[in-house]
């Protein structure tokens, strides 16, 4: 009888709808970037530039198996979903207490994990071996699993899936040791594969001539970061990684389409509407995995739907996101010497002699890129784009060895110059011109991957290179508050609200920290029933 009641009751439960996803973020944070457009801007304003100095720790959740959390939590209706390698935990977002956990002990590999997706009564995340897992968001019960790529074909997975309409979109990692990148969509209800779009054309297809034939099947162009989505245009924007072998291009002469590119994909069909390649024939491992951030803005007298993108190659781009038309590119770092600029068609004007070489070639930016997958944000009220940037050059080496996939061969590598350590800055860019409005220099060893979140309270929160969560004024970068987390940071913060209280959360290497405004403690009466187990 209980069972019959439960079976009847479950489908009536509150569902996270596509409309909810379009309205995020509000008090909830429902996608990796908070919103479909990748702006990472929260309308919450209880924490603002005048009171953020009263921010205090509210709770800490220790991830027992955590070594280097890169996860961005989701929050829905007071429940936080936080991932780690092959596992996901549901927490009470007010107290950090665990509600349920799911760990995939049978995954073939351990990889970092960057987050989950939510739709209906389900949460989705990927195990390291490219298994997409759907769980009941209330109980953690497994609904279905789908292995969508093989470790034996050079694939692994770290990304947060993207839920769009009735489907879940995922990608793959592994492009540094050879594979063939793709984006794929699965039915949220059954796990059935709906489409798969390879980032490297097949033999005989348009673009295949930009590769040598032997690398068509192994040329990388992996899809390891989640994407953004424009509901009105019904287009998903997804970036692709480097061509393989990363640092030696002699075996893959040509542009190597569509590596180091941004793809606009129809999520209904999986067809590519347009693509734009930032770095043709890349030899510096400059994956295009910076966030494609969607905004509407006037450009040369007319309103344009644009996509902003701070690329690892050091240029800030704006493209028309309807057509993929190149509009403009501007350097957003000073240490940039591989190209004189970008021509009218969006193609880099190369500086000769900057390719990796057997004895090493100095080039800038570094392998880690001028920016990378750490989340930028856009604040519509200030009209500024906030990007974590790295000023660094590297010595790039190449090796012409015969490329053998899945043998940890990358065709060379990049090395830091000991006397020229990298330096991070948080920069606020003018979206139209890419010019710097202000910058906030960061101390530290140059190894972080932490990003930003913008709030309507006029505060930008970001993780710095010394393991601190920092709050600055969105208008001018003035320091407002900071907290030392005791560990390096490799994740981006989020903000959400429960019971009228705003919180800010960021994952450190082994823990999830949540902050809120100081409130005097209220005495709680101890209920005898709770201590019954101790009698």
């Amino acid at each position: 009888m209980i069972g019959a009641f439960l079976l009847a009751a479950l489908p009536l439960a509150a569902q996270v709808t596509f409309e909810d996803l379009k309205a995020s973020p509000n008090r909830n944070w429902l996608t990796y970037a908070g919103d479909y457009k990748g702006q990472r801007h929260s309308p919450l304003r209880r924490i603002d530039r005048s009171n953020v100095r009263n921010l205090v720790p509210k709770w800490t959740f220790h991830m027992e198996t955590g070594r280097r959390l890169e996860t961005v939590p989701l929050v829905y209706d007071g429940v936080m979903y936080v991932t780690n390698s092959n596992e996901i935990q549901a927490l009470d977002a007010r107290s950090g207490r665990r509600i349920w956990s799911y760990r995939d002990e049978q995954s073939e590999v351990n990889r970092v994990n960057r987050g989950a997706a939510i739709l209906g009564d389900r949460v989705f995340f990927v195990a390291g071996d490219c298994t997409l897992i759907a769980l009941d968001r209330r109980t953690g019960a497994v609904l279905w699993t789908k292995k969508y790529a093989g470790v034996d074909q050079g694939y692994f997975a770290t990304l947060a899936p993207l839920a769009v309409k009735d489907r879940v979109v995922v990608g793959v990692g592994g492009g540094d040791t050879g594979n063939r990148g793709f984006v794929a969509a699965f039915s949220a209800s059954t796990g059935e594969e709906l489409w798969r779009l390879y980032t490297i054309p097949g033999k005989g297809e348009p673009g295949a001539e930009t590769w040598s034939e032997k690398l068509l099947a192994w040329g990388g162009a992996a899809t390891w970061l989640s994407g953004t989505y424009d509901p009105e245009l019904n287009l998903v924007y997804w970036t692709t990684g480097n061509p393989w072998p990363d640092f030696y291009g002699g075996d893959r002469k040509g542009d190597n389409l569509w590596s180091c590119a941004l793809l606009a994909i129809d999520p209904d069909t999986g067809k590519m509407k347009w693509a734009f390649q930032f770095t043709p024939h890349d030899t510096h491992d400059w994956d295009a995995q910076g966030w494609p951030v969607l905004i509407d803005m006037p450009y040369q007298g007319t309103m344009r739907k644009v996509v902003m993108h701070a690329n690892r190659n050091g240029f800030y781009y704006i493209l028309d996101r309807v057509t993929g038309e190149y509009l403009r590119a501007t350097p957003f770092v000073d240490k940039l010497d591989w190209a004189k600029g970008i021509d009218a068609k969006g193609r880099p004007i190369l500086v000769p002699g900057k390719d990796p070489s057997p004895n090493g070639t100095k080039a800038c930016p570094s392998v880690r890129g001028a920016s990378n997958w750490m989340s930028p944000s856009y604040n519509p009220e200030t009209g500024l784009f906030y990007v974590v940037t790295l000023e660094q050059c590297d010595i790039y080496m190449s090796s012409a060895k015969e490329p053998v996939p899945m043998q940890n061969f990358a065709g060379g590598g990049g090395e830091q110059i000991p006397t020229e350590p990298g330096k991070f800055y948080l920069r606020a860019l003018d979206p139209k011109t890419g010019s710097r409005v202000w910058e906030y220099p960061l101390t530290g060893p140059g190894i972080m991957w932490a990003g930003t979140v913008s709030t309507a309270g006029g505060v930008i929160f970001f993780g710095d290179d010394d393991g601190q969560l920092v709050a600055v004024d969105a208008r001018d970068g003035r320091h407002l508050w900071h907290y030392q987390m005791g560990q390096q940071l490799f994740a981006s913060p989020i903000t959400y609200e429960v019971d009228g209280k705003q919180y800010v959360t960021i994952a450190s290497q082994t823990d999830v920290f949540t902050f809120g405004l100081f409130e005097p403690a209220q005495p709680v009466k101890v209920l005898p029933g709770l201590s019954k187990t101790l009698e």
Partner: protein, 271 residues
């Protein structure tokens, strides 16, 4: 003295963590060999180590680190030479018989899906349905939420544990499934299973199938039951065949029917 040092080494090597370059078990995962090993085990080992390796006078052979951290060769040596200073005697069985015994001992602790449990899984599914298991448990999203999800139960629990959990659930409460009733300030009460609680807040799954997150300040009473919702009478309610078939069905509930040997190897290497 020399013999003592040698046998001590054999015993202590069970705890060794370095993988040694020793022969693998030729019968690893072989169902026939496991069956032969089981016969020897029941005759000579079960008396001390328990019928399903759960332990007794001798250590638990199913769940502990003792077995997981040992190579097959180390287990073979321990069986062969015994453990001096303990009740574990040496044996003069030929190596082949001991390897079969090792294969069986490994199968005791392996996830049920990696063994070859007897019984008819199709009939077992009927037993599962008729016995009302789905009232509280879910498989692939179908069923209740008051008991643990069973979708991957064969991939994560050994056959022995599965059987024990059904036949002798006892008073042991599974974390996250302790029955609870709370009373709210407006007088309403809500029952379900408690996911977590402290003196300051409480998270529960209600009988309504929903999550409920409370701050203790919003409650006037909390009653935790010490009695599991899992019925304790299945051992008598189900016939022996029904139980075997039910276990055959549950043992096959796995999300990854991967190669059993490869999976075991990964676990052994700690990956």
């Amino acid at each position: 003295m020399r013999r003592l040092v040698f046998t001590l080494f054999a015993a202590s090597s069970l705890w060794g963590q370095q993988p040694l370059n020793h022969p693998d078990n030729p019968f690893d995962g072989d169902p026939d060999a496991i069956e032969r090993g089981k016969k020897v085990y029941m005759g000579s080992c079960g008396g001390c180590h328990g019928g399903t390796g759960e332990g007794g006078r001798g250590p638990n052979l199913r769940d502990g680190r003792l077995i997981r951290r040992s190579t097959d060769f180390q287990v073979l040596n321990t069986i062969k030479k015994g453990v001096p200073g303990s009740d574990m005697p040496p044996t003069n069985l030929p190596d082949e018989r001991i390897w079969e015994l090792v294969a069986y001992v490994r199968a005791l602790g392996a996830p049920a899906s990696e063994t070859s449990p007897p019984g008819n899984p199709t009939r077992g599914e009927e037993v599962y349905r008729n016995a009302g298991c789905a009232n509280c448990h879910a498989i692939s999203g179908r069923g209740g939420a008051l008991g643990p999800d069973l979708t991957n139960i064969g991939g994560t629990r050994s056959y022995g544990i599965l059987r024990e959990s059904i036949e002798k659930p006892g008073d042991r409460l599974t974390p996250g499934y302790q029955p609870v009733t709370v009373q709210m300030k407006d007088g309403r009460t809500l029952s379900g299973v408690v996911k977590n609680y402290t003196n300051y807040d409480l998270q529960m799954a209600g009988r309504d199938g929903q999550l409920h997150l409370f701050q203790i300040a919003d409650l006037t009473d909390v009653q935790l039951s010490m009695k599991s919702l899992m019925p304790a009478d299945y051992a008598t309610r189900l016939s022996r065949d029904d139980m075997t078939d039910l276990l055959a069905y549950l043992s096959r509930r796995t999300l990854r029917p991967a190669d059993a040997r490869a999976a075991r190897e990964r676990r052994r290497q700690g990956r």
